[in-house]
């Protein structure tokens, strides 16, 4: 198990390196930041000075070498726009995105597992059908549309919740609710399907022949076996949230990583884009390793 995690960590570092190279050069292809940053009537000399100041006049390989050198000293460079270390800007955005993602995923997990398991136990019944319909709608409705409709209903018509921004706990309600819907719809389907096949397993028959009651039959004997495919999908969905729910954050004016990334790309704030992508990648790699560990905890056959 430890060996497996070690291998995963090394593989992750390599992919991180590849990702950094890719993003560094690709972002330089988008154009010259000097043109965007300086006023439209800036002289060529001003542009030269700007480039020289930020090292943009040097050959691109040299720029890359300098970037890697700084990176090895944990210096991610400065944000052009904010004139602050890029890493600070990114981590600040994460202090908003991380709780948003964690709270949403926790709610999704509890709701999807409980409802999906119960739906599978009485398959074809009223409750099962209700869960299926709700989840199908949830998984297929576009989140930007739900976000806008939710603002119209709850903020504008009823005036219960703020339309956008942050500041009070109430500001979190709509973003979490909107982000909740799609992963919930997807995961509840996976839990239901996985539970259905697990309930047909031979060991469930053994448990019934032992006289095990229904509740432990579902939540002890079956659920743990059914969790393995669920965890994989859950990891995927959590990664999407960590990546920054770009559209939802933008609609709600939520200062998270998704919004930061979009803004920085539009302004060619290379260092922030690179840093945001790398920090996100590290977060996703860590989460994948956590998923591997969860697999091992749930299934003793994987531990060996």
């Amino acid at each position: 198990m430890t060996k497996m995690i070690g291998q995963r960590a090394i593989a992750s570092l390599l992919s991180l390196l590849g990702l950094m190279i890719l993003v560094f050069f690709l972002s330089r292809l988008t154009g010259d930041p000097a043109v965007l940053f300086l006023p439209i009537d800036a002289t060529e000399q001003m542009k030269e000075e700007f480039r020289a100041l930020h090292g943009l006049d040097r050959p691109i390989i040299e720029q890359f070498g300098a970037y890697v050198w700084d990176l090895l000293h944990l210096d991610f460079g400065d944000s052009l726009r904010k004139a602050r270390p890029a890493i600070d800007v990114v981590l600040e955005a994460y202090t908003w995105t991380l709780p948003l993602a964690l709270i949403t995923m926790a709610l999704v997990m509890v709701a999807a597992i409980v409802l999906g398991a119960l739906a599978a136990f009485k398959v074809g019944g009223f409750f099962d059908r209700l869960v299926s319909i709700v989840s199908l709608v949830g998984a297929s409705a576009p989140d930007f549309w739900i976000a806008i409709v939710a603002i119209v209903i709850f903020s504008i018509n009823f005036g219960w919740l703020p339309t956008s921004g942050v500041g009070t706990p109430l500001h979190w309600v709509l973003p979490i609710a909107v982000l909740f819907i799609r992963p919930f719809g997807l995961i509840v389907q996976v839990v239901r399907g996985s539970m259905l096949s697990a309930l047909g397993a031979a060991y469930v028959k053994t448990a019934r022949a032992k006289g095990v009651k229904n509740r432990p039959l579902i939540f002890v004997h079956t659920l743990r076996n059914a969790m393995l495919p669920v965890i994989t999908v859950m990891g995927d969905q959590a990664a999407a949230l960590l990546n920054g729910a770009v559209i939802v954050e933008t609609i709600f004016g939520f200062p998270g990583i998704g919004k930061l990334m979009i803004d920085s790309i539009l302004q060619r704030d290379f260092n922030v884009v690179l840093t945001a992508i790398m920090v996100t990648a590290i977060a996703i790699f860590i989460m994948n390793i956590l998923i591997d560990i969860a697999y091992g905890v749930l299934d003793p056959r994987i531990r060996q």
Partner: protein, 539 residues
């Protein structure tokens, strides 16, 4: 019979499926008392497990529907009892064990937890349950019960897992134990041990044992009474001896006649040219030696059986010869050329000459391909018979050759029975006109009566087409009927080899002797004699 502890009375159960209603059991009655052993004998689809599942409330309703009848336990009809009453009975008064203990144990919990749960689920304190579990794990013959409690099902062997299932079933000292094919997935020597254990435990606890099986040998060894089931009905009931010698129903007679190991033994034609010469074949997986310098010679037209228990290396031998696994060292001369060292291009030609028939045709036939496509696929690969009309004619011929009909060509595998599917697999192998067919447990998944038919078919093909067979099997009766030469494998080595008659009549290696002794004879008298002889030897 009014005072039987458990009585199934005139039970009829239907299954409502998409393809219509199946009468799974019709008017079935049997009963059991403490201390008795009742065998329910039948082939797959006979409904032999259904009444027992009904007793345990394990049927899913729907699709199942109990049409009529009663299940009386201590005179009370279980079918009228509440779900909670029935749950409380399960495990406590009537316990059940199953075929294939690996899938019937929960893979993610320790066996200790699962055994203890048998008592905690019925409200007993956990520490008392743990003490009883330790005692029972030791009783069923597992070393180091304390360590065993902490291990998971996959860390045990098949025989050990079934012992653990038995320990679990006995936790609450049930009055009746229902065993559904408890030894079917096990090797013969392990089967003998597990049956002996069940008998001992029955003598100690006085429980009644309901044994559901397809194996006449198991019935002969253990049962006091037997009911024979066919197509959902009990066609015959009586003592094993009575049924074996004086069966009146045609189905029972057919079943007894189909029991393998009764025909004339075949002899080798040593003058035939050598087809395959395996020399010191070796294969290791990490530190585990699967094949340890295995050598054997196969003549043209010969049927050579490789006999051994699971883990003996017999399947690895087949895979290595087919180059599905790479050998570590050694040679296998096929018509003089070394199979092991052949290039991919040379191998392609040989692939046509050596075909394989696998154990489970449900898995080895692609469910999305029609029978025609399955049989004709090899011709595409080897660029044979390009003409469509000729192909269709040849497929029809092949289907007739294996006892199917030409119009079956357009159907898909799921539309056939297990025996028919294995015939399709054989037709597929024959399509390429091979010189050698390797059969890896090709008849072990089939019912006894079907098994006899498939063996007869293979033997006919050998005689008519001169095809050689490498026949990998664990069932000695089948081997005796089909093979002319036998090699016995144990732990990756050949421990004994010789003509079939010699191996069966005069085995020299202790392991071969043990295998033959553990092989159950369908005749209850033969089994009784063997038990008496073993008893004398033991005393």
């Amino acid at each position: 019979m009014a005072d039987a502890l458990l009585e199934v009375r005139k039970l009829s159960i239907d299954f409502h499926t998409a393809r219509g209603t199946v009468h799974a059991v019709r008017n079935v009655s049997w009963s059991i008392n403490r201390g008795e052993t009742l065998a329910v004998l039948g082939e797959s689809g006979s409904g032999k497990s259904v009444s027992a599942s009904a007793v345990m409330n394990l049927l899913d309703i729907p699709p199942a529907q109990i049409v009529s009848g009663e299940i009386l336990f201590e005179g009370k009809d279980l079918l009228k009892a509440s779900q909670e009453e029935r749950r409380a009975l399960n495990g406590k008064r009537i316990a059940m064990i199953f075929q294939d203990p690996l899938s019937h144990l929960n893979p993610v919990y320790t066996v200790g937890w699962q055994i203890v749960e048998m008592m905690t689920a019925h409200g007993r304190p956990a520490d008392a349950a743990r003490a009883r579990a330790l005692e029972l794990i030791a009783r069923v013959g597992l070393p180091e019960p304390k360590q065993a409690m902490r291990k998971y099902p996959h860390q045990f062997s098949g025989g050990q897992r079934q012992r653990l299932m038995i320990a679990m079933a006995l936790m609450l000292k049930p009055d009746i134990l229902i065993a559904d094919e408890p030894t079917t997935a096990l090797d013969v020597t392990i089967q003998a041990d597990v049956l002996a254990l069940l008998k001992e435990l029955q003598a100690e606890t006085g429980m009644g044992l309901v044994l559901i099986t397809h194996d006449l040998g198991v019935v002969a060894e253990i049962a006091d009474r037997v009911v024979v089931m066919s197509q959902g009905e009990i066609v015959e009931a009586g003592t094993p001896r009575n049924i074996y010698h004086n069966a009146t129903h045609p189905y029972t007679r057919k079943l007894i006649a189909a029991a393998p190991g009764k025909g004339a033994v075949k002899h080798v034609d040593a003058a035939a040219p050598v087809l395959l010469d395996v020399q010191k074949l070796r294969k290791t997986y990490g530190g585990f030696t699967a094949l340890n310098d295995v050598s054997l010679i196969l003549h043209k037209g010969q049927s050579l059986a490789v006999v051994g228990e699971s883990g003996s290396g017999k399947s690895t031998l087949a895979k290595t010869l087919l180059r599905l696994e790479a050998a570590d060292s050694g040679a296998a001369l096929w018509k003089g050329c070394n199979l092991i060292a052949m290039s991919a291009r040379e191998l392609l030609g040989v692939r046509r000459e050596i075909q394989m028939v696998f154990q489970d045709p449900t898995q080895s036939l692609n469910p999305r391909m029609s029978v025609y496509d399955l049989i004709a696929e090899g011709w595409d690969i080897h660029r044979l018979i390009p003409d469509k009309v000729a192909r269709r004619r040849r497929v029809a011929e092949l289907l007739e050759q294996v006892g199917l009909l030409p119009e079956h060509a357009q159907r898909y595998p799921h539309q056939f029975s297990g025996g028919q599917r294995q015939r399709i697999a054989i037709a597929r192998a024959l399509a390429l006109e091979p010189d050698l067919i390797i059969c890896d447990e090709a008849v072990s998944a089939l019912d006894v009566s079907i098994q006899a038919q498939v063996i007869a078919l293979l033997d006919d093909l050998r005689k008519r087409l001169g095809i050689s067979f490498l026949f990998i099997a664990h069932d000695l009766g089948v081997v005796r009927d089909f093979a002319d030469t036998v090699v016995v494998m144990k732990s990756g080595e050949i421990v004994e080899r010789g003509p079939t008659s010699l191996i069966f009549d005069n085995p020299r290696h202790p392991y071969t002797q043990r295998l033959l002794a553990a092989n159950l004879d369908p005749d209850p008298d033969v089994q009784a004699q063997r038990r008496a002889a073993a008893g004398r030897a033991g005393a």
